[in-house]
């Protein structure tokens, strides 16, 4: 699990949640909003309140209408009374003119002829004026707002008036009685209409005050009727003949009595204003005097207190009194109007109040619902938004809002968020690599916290293990496991970097190539363990001998280099070489690791090659120079140093030329492969071939394989060479296999072909492709391909082991070549990725019994680890017998066949040797090959 993985884990889960969220939101949006729910809750109370308010408003509205109707009615009645008074005023002049029409009647009534003449000429104008006034007054009633309610009365009155006026104005003797009767009828019509209209107003359901005012008005109407008809009644009683005269007399007295009674009794009045007006009216001097005169007349009917002839002259006083009564009525109407308007205003106020209350109730309810809904919605939305954010991985605080339940939920969410934050902090600490913090975090309480903390511990543990592993791998990749010194690759990297740095500052790099003298002897004599100990000690001494800033590296085997930066003086390098030679030469005690039982003192020497860089130097070139110098030091006697000089440069140049030619040869197809058979030591059957490269340099002749392979190994040329060998060898074997040649027979096990791979090629990832391409191109089964490597390859570069494992898993076989010369301990065989072990020819050819024992040991150990063992360099039947005795399965060597070109291989006869029971078998081969060099 990497840091990236930690970051990815929540991201992936968020993604999957995001995909789910829209669906769940869609479901949630199908619900009704909370304000709607609250509004529904308010619906029934609102409807009920609205209905009740409606009823109340309707009632108030009706009251207001009734008050208005009453007011209009009263106004109309007042106007009607005005008309009635006017009609009453018509009576006297009408009757007067009737009386005056007859001279005798006029004289009898007390009108002298001249007075009769004056009145007859002037009174019609008076009557006309009054009639006009009556008609106008009736029109005014009709036009009043309350008039339509009195329409029937008006029609009736108008018709009656038309009739009575026509009757009065007619020619011939005036029917005074009939006129009087008809006017009386009209007066009755007026009266009953006024009373019923007033009664209607009174019964309209008005307030007590209004009803009282209406009753006062009614009182005034009665007074008005009595007042206006008085004088005419008196006149009628005087002028009407019997029998009507007596009735007229009674009417006059009745009229007077009614008036007097009403006028004198203001106690019946309800309103103070009306009472004041009534009192003022009653005490009015002229009215009181006029009324007093009429009273005297009424109380003393036998005496004419008022002459009949004086009555027309008093009519204006009657009219004056009528007008005063009208003022009274006006006050009464005003009181009624005021009262009913108050009623109406109250009703309207009530109506308005109800409407306002309803509206207020409605608005407050809606406001209430709105506020509560908003309160809930806002707090719920906040909670939902918080939850949504949290669900998307944002650890936000959810503020506690709204009702208790929501606050509780918000608090719970916040608490969860706080916990998640701690988890986040832990994860963040892991991400940023702050592992101490991650572990120091107080774990979240509860099962989740435990699991999270445990997982963090796990992650941190894994992380640390990985870091340690990486460090270890990096160290392993760049350092030699045995000595702890930088390995070849690291040394070369360092050298390259040193060259670059020196070039930048205009200085030079010195390189010392150290090849131990006599190391192999120590190894052979005291075993690999002793050799290893020796190498370790040499490494320590080299490290101690150098200056700060200089670097020691181990190229492999017994080869070391020392890189000296920023040097210009060769003398310094020479002194260093001398110090190193001296240090290495000091004897070393080995065997200390085994507890001191087998401590020996061994000594080795050192051949040192010294070189200094030039501006054109590369790491490889510089190393080759130092190597070349060391090689000369070794050749010139060991235990000494040689400085790379022009002679050496020429050798190196020769090698470089060789490399160029080799490249050309490779490209030109000048190289050839020879195949040395490998036989089964028990049956003599052919089991395989080892492919060996041969190069005949144009103009020079055959080049020794160890020479041109060494040149190739200095660059990537060796990989190209390996690739070519792979292709060529597999192709050849596939050909034989197809053609059933060279050991491919129907009843035989199929021979394999072994190809030598250099360490450089094997460490390069291209080796995988090269092998695969060769197998694919040839169609050869992978089991028939054997890759031969030296044991040092595995120790020098870890990638070589990885590539080897990969190839083995594909079925390709691996053989460790020249085993025993290197530094691989037998114990390490258990982990060596190999199928075959080829024992180095030195063990076979040696006469040393120790070597023989070692060969036996190696064979046994290989078997223990399921490795087949091939003995190389078998030249004699004795050697064959010995390896056969050791249990070695296969062998190769001149005893059987030297390496042959393909055509010759095809000609070989099988088996390649006869199994003999003697310890000294004869060579089976018909040709004795020349000694062979191993490619490595």
């Amino acid at each position: 699990l990497s840091a990236d993985d930690v970051m990815w884990a929540p991201a992936v889960s968020t993604l999957s949640r995001r995909r789910r969220l829209p669906r769940s939101r869609g479901r949630s949006q199908r619900g009704i909003p909370i304000w709607l729910a609250l509004a529904a809750l308010m619906l029934f109370p609102l409807v009920a309140a609205g209905t009740m308010a409606g009823v109340s408003i309707d009632s108030a509205s009706r009251s207001a209408d009734e008050a208005l109707r009453a007011e209009q009615l009263v106004n109309a009645v007042e106007l009607l009374d005005s008309a009635r008074r006017s009609v009453d005023a018509e009576v006297l002049p009408t009757m007067l003119l009737g009386v005056l029409g007859n001279a005798a009647d006029a004289k009898a009534a007390g009108f002298s002829p001249p007075r009769r003449e004056v009145l007859r000429s002037t009174e019609p104008a008076n009557l006309d004026r009054i009639r006009t006034e009556s008609d106008q007054a009736l029109d005014a009633v009709e036009a009043a707002p309350g008039g339509p309610g009195l329409h029937g009365v008006l029609v009736q009155v108008r018709a009656a008036l038309l009739a009575v006026r026509a009757l009065a104005d007619g020619t011939g003797p005036s029917p005074l009685q009939e006129v009087a009767d008809q006017y009386a009828t009209i007066a009755g019509t007026f009266s009953s209409a006024q009373r019923s209209a007033n009664a209607e107003a009174i019964s309209a359901g008005l307030s007590q005050r209004s009803v009282a005012a209406l009753q006062d008005f009614d009182h005034g109407l009665a007074l008005s009727e009595a007042a206006s008809s008085q004088l005419a009644a008196l006149f009628a009683s005087r002028v009407l003949p019997e029998p009507g005269g007596s009735k007229a007399q009674q009417d006059w007295v009745a009229t007077w009595g009614t008036y007097t009674q009403l006028a004198g009794n203001s106690d019946e009045l309800s309103t103070t204003g009306m009472r004041a007006a009534w009192t003022t009216f009653q005490s009015g001097d002229q009215i009181a005097t006029f009324s007093g005169i009429l009273e005297r007349q009424a109380l003393d009917p036998r005496e004419e207190v008022l002459e009949t002839g004086a009555l027309p002259g008093l009519a204006w006083r009657s009219v004056q009194r009528d007008e005063s009564v009208a003022v009274l009525l006006e006050y009464a109407v005003s009181a009624v109007t005021t009262a009913v308007r108050v009623d109406r205003a109250r009703a309207v106020d009530r109506e308005r109040l109800m409407v306002e209350i309803c509206l207020a109730f409605g608005v407050l309810s809606l406001l209430d619902v709105g506020l509560v809904a908003r309160w809930l919605t806002v707090s719920m939305r906040s909670l939902a938004a918080g939850a949504q954010q949290i669900s998307q991985g944002h650890l936000v605080d959810v503020p506690p809002r709204g009702p208790l339940e929501l606050r509780t939920a918000a608090a719970a969410l916040s608490s969860a968020v706080a916990g998640l934050r701690r988890v986040q902090e832990q994860a963040q600490a892991v991400v940023t690599g702050d592992l101490e913090t991650a572990l120091r975090q107080q774990p979240l309480p509860g099962p989740l916290g435990e699991v999270v903390h445990a997982s963090v511990e796990q992650i941190v543990g894994a992380f640390r293990a990985r870091e340690a592993l990486q460090d270890e791998l990096a160290h392993q990749a760049s350092h030699d496991a045995l000595t702890g010194l930088p390995n070849r690759a690291e040394t070369m990297r360092h050298l390259g970097a040193a060259l670059l740095r020196s070039r930048l500052v205009g200085r030079q790099v010195g390189l010392l190539f150290i090849d131990l003298d006599g190391f192999k002897a120590v190894n052979d004599a005291h075993g690999h363990a002793a050799g290893d100990e020796l190498l370790g000690e040499v490494a320590r001494r080299l490290s101690a001998a150098i200056r700060g800033g200089d670097a020691v590296g181990r190229l492999g085997g017994d080869e070391f280099v020392v890189t000296v930066e920023n040097t210009d003086v060769v003398a310094d390098l020479v002194r260093l070489a001398e110090r190193i030679i001296a240090a290495v030469s000091v004897p070393v005690r080995v065997g200390l690791d085994t507890g001191g039982d087998d401590v020996k003192q061994v000594s080795v020497g050192a051949s040192v090659g010294v070189t200094v860089s030039s501006d054109l130097s590369t790491a490889d070139a510089l190393l080759a120079e130092a190597d070349t110098a060391a090689y000369r030091a070794k050749r010139l006697g060991r235990g000494r140093f040689e400085i790379f000089d022009d002679v050496l440069r020429a050798e190196l140049a020769e090698q470089a030329d060789l490399a160029v030619d080799l490249r050309q040869a490779l490209d030109a197809g000048e190289l050839r492969l020879h195949y040395q058979p490998v036989v089964d030591v028990r049956t003599g059957d052919l089991v395989g071939y080892e492919a060996l490269a041969r190069w005949t340099r144009p103009g020079t002749g055959p080049v020794r394989p160890d020479v041109f392979i060494a040149v190739a190994e200095a660059s990537t040329l060796v990989s190209d060479l390996g690739q070519w060998v792979l292709l060529e060898a597999t192709s050849q074997l596939a050909y034989w296999r197809q053609e059933h040649l060279a050991g491919f027979g129907p009843d035989q096990a199929e021979p394999t072909v072994a190809v030598n791979l250099s360490g450089r090629h094997l460490a390069d990832p291209r080796v995988l492709d090269d092998v695969s391409a060769a197998l694919t191109a040839s169609g050869l089964p992978p089991e028939l391909l054997v890759l031969e490597i030296t044991e040092t390859v595995l120790t020098n570069d870890p990638r070589a082991s990885l590539h080897l494992q990969e190839l083995r898993s594909q079925g390709v076989r691996v053989a460790i070549d020249d085993f025993g010369t290197g530094y691989t301990s037998i114990g390490a065989l258990s982990t060596t990725p190999a199928d075959i072990l080829k024992i180095d020819r030195s063990f076979i050819a040696s006469d040393d019994p120790g070597h023989h024992q070692l060969a036996t040991l190696i064979t046994r150990a290989a078997h223990t680890f399921s490795l087949r063992v091939v003995a190389e360099g078998i030249e004699t039947p004795e050697q064959l017998a010995r390896v056969r005795a050791d249990g070695c399965e296969e062998a190769q060597g001149y005893l059987f066949s030297r390496p042959l070109p393909p055509t010759e291989v095809e000609e070989l006869t099988h088996p390649l040797f006869l199994i003999e029971t003697t310890a000294d078998p004869e060579p089976a081969a018909h040709k004795r090959p020349a000694p062979e060099w191993s490619p490595s």
Binding site: G309, G313, W316, E330
Partner: protein, 424 residues
């Protein structure tokens, strides 16, 4: 004396100051609390003031005062008294008819003493007798006179000429030095123009004759004197108009108009403001009328006052308003429009009053009314007079209707004495 803009401003300034002081003091809901109101209501009756003068005066006060004018219909006194009794809708300024003044003089508490507002300084401007009739016994001035009713003879020059009588106002006036002169002309008119009458009714004669008396029905001591002196003198003159058959017995307005138009009435005696009734009732007779001195000397009938009820909301402003309304310029409008003869003597020389009048054939009637106004007798007008007069007038109607005059006189005296008794 012209409404004294200066005094008004001073008054208004003092008002403003006192208003400010009272605003600084404790809240005062007393009678003066509404002082300073710009709203003023004015009551008068149709013909009581020149509407144009009211309108113009209100206009000059615009900004200072908002005047609400009501032309009150019906019985004015009844309405005013009802307002006082009920204490509702009392006007800030109100007219009072001359005949009603004696009654209201007895209710001094209902009105402001205009002397406290500066009336004394302008008293001399008005006809003395008229001004005095609005002065209470203790010297309070209740009202300022609007107009006078100096009595005179209105006559149809055309008919008089037809009857062979002189028609030049000066010549006619010369005949009217006493009542006999009038009776003589009346007799000659009746003879020359049969079916015509010299006067509408006996009541008119009684009223004019009574106005010439210093004492009428009630003496200053309150005793009834309607059976003697002035009342008896007037009764006799009125009775003579009946017995001589020179009065028409016409009492209603339509009949009066009809009689004037038809020429049944050859003349009229009455106060100056009767000129409006004649002009309105018989416009077709325009130019035929002349005015001459009242038979037996001038008297005053009617003529009204402007008063400020005690509840007036802004006395100073209201007083300023009425003095402006009664200015000579406005009085001349009243004379021209409503035959209101100015009580302000200074107005008599204004061109509006001295100009010749078309209705009177180009005669400048001020020549007659002016001197009359200046020679009015001072009459004691008892509050009971108007009631008592009703009895006398009723009995005169009775005589017109055929009643025995001696009995009528007796009944009139009895009724009058009864009124005085009842009042005591």
């Amino acid at each position: 004396m012209n409404p004294t803009r200066r005094s008004f401003l001073v008054g208004a300034g003092l008002l403003g100051l006192s208003g400010g002081l009272s605003a600084c003091g404790a809240s005062d809901s007393g009678p003066g609390s509404s002082a300073g109101s710009k709203d003023l209501s004015l009551w008068y009756w149709d013909g009581g003031l020149s509407p144009q003068a009211v309108k113009d005066t209100s206009a000059t006060f615009s900004g200072r005062a908002k005047i609400t004018t009501t032309v009150v219909p019906g019985d004015f006194k009844q309405r005013l008294k009802t307002a006082f009794t009920s204490r509702q809708d009392i006007p800030d300024i109100t007219g009072i008819k001359g005949e009603d003044m004696p009654v209201f003089l007895t209710e001094t508490g209902s009105f402001l003493d205009l002397n406290t507002l500066g009336a004394r300084t302008i008293a001399d401007s008005f006809a003395t007798a008229k001004y005095a009739q609005a002065t209470t016994a203790d010297g309070q001035q209740i009202g300022l006179p609007i107009d006078l009713g100096p009595t005179a003879l209105f006559f149809r020059a055309d008919l008089w000429k037809k009857a062979g009588l002189p028609v030049a106002p000066g010549a006619v006036s010369a005949l009217m030095t006493d009542w006999d002169g009038w009776f003589d002309t009346a007799r000659r008119l009746k003879k020359a123009l049969p079916g015509t009458f010299a006067i509408r009714n006996s009541g008119d004669v009684f009223g004019v004759a009574l106005a010439q008396q210093h004492e009428t029905f009630v003496a200053r001591d309150g005793s009834f004197i309607g059976d003697q002196g002035g009342a008896k003198k007037a009764w006799k003159i009125a009775l003579r108009s009946i017995t001589d058959g020179i009065q028409a017995g016409i009492y209603n307005g339509s009949a009066f108009s009809e009689a004037l138009t038809s020429g049944q009435l050859t003349g009229h005696i009455g106060p100056a403001w009767n000129g409006l009734d004649i002009e309105a009732g018989a416009p077709s007779t325009s130019g035929a009328w002349r005015v001459a001195s009242c038979p037996g000397g001038p008297g005053n009938i009617g003529g009204s006052y402007l008063t400020l009820p005690g509840s007036c909301r802004n006395p100073e402003l209201a007083f300023a308003y009425i003095t402006e309304l009664l200015s000579a310029a406005n009085q001349s409008k009243g004379f021209a429009e409503a035959s209101l003869f100015p009580a302000l003597t200074a107005a008599y020389t204004l061109p509006a009053l001295t100009a010749g009048q078309t209705f009177y054939g180009g005669q400048s009637t001020i020549e007659v009314f002016g001197p009359a106004a200046e020679h009015l007798p001072t009459v004691y007008d008892s509050p009971l007079n108007i009631t008592i007069a009703t009895s006398y007038n009723t009995e005169l109607s009775n005589v017109e209707g055929g009643k025995e005059p001696a009995k009528a006189w007796k009944d009139a005296i009895e009724a009058g004495a009864e009124v005085v008794r009842s009042a005591a």
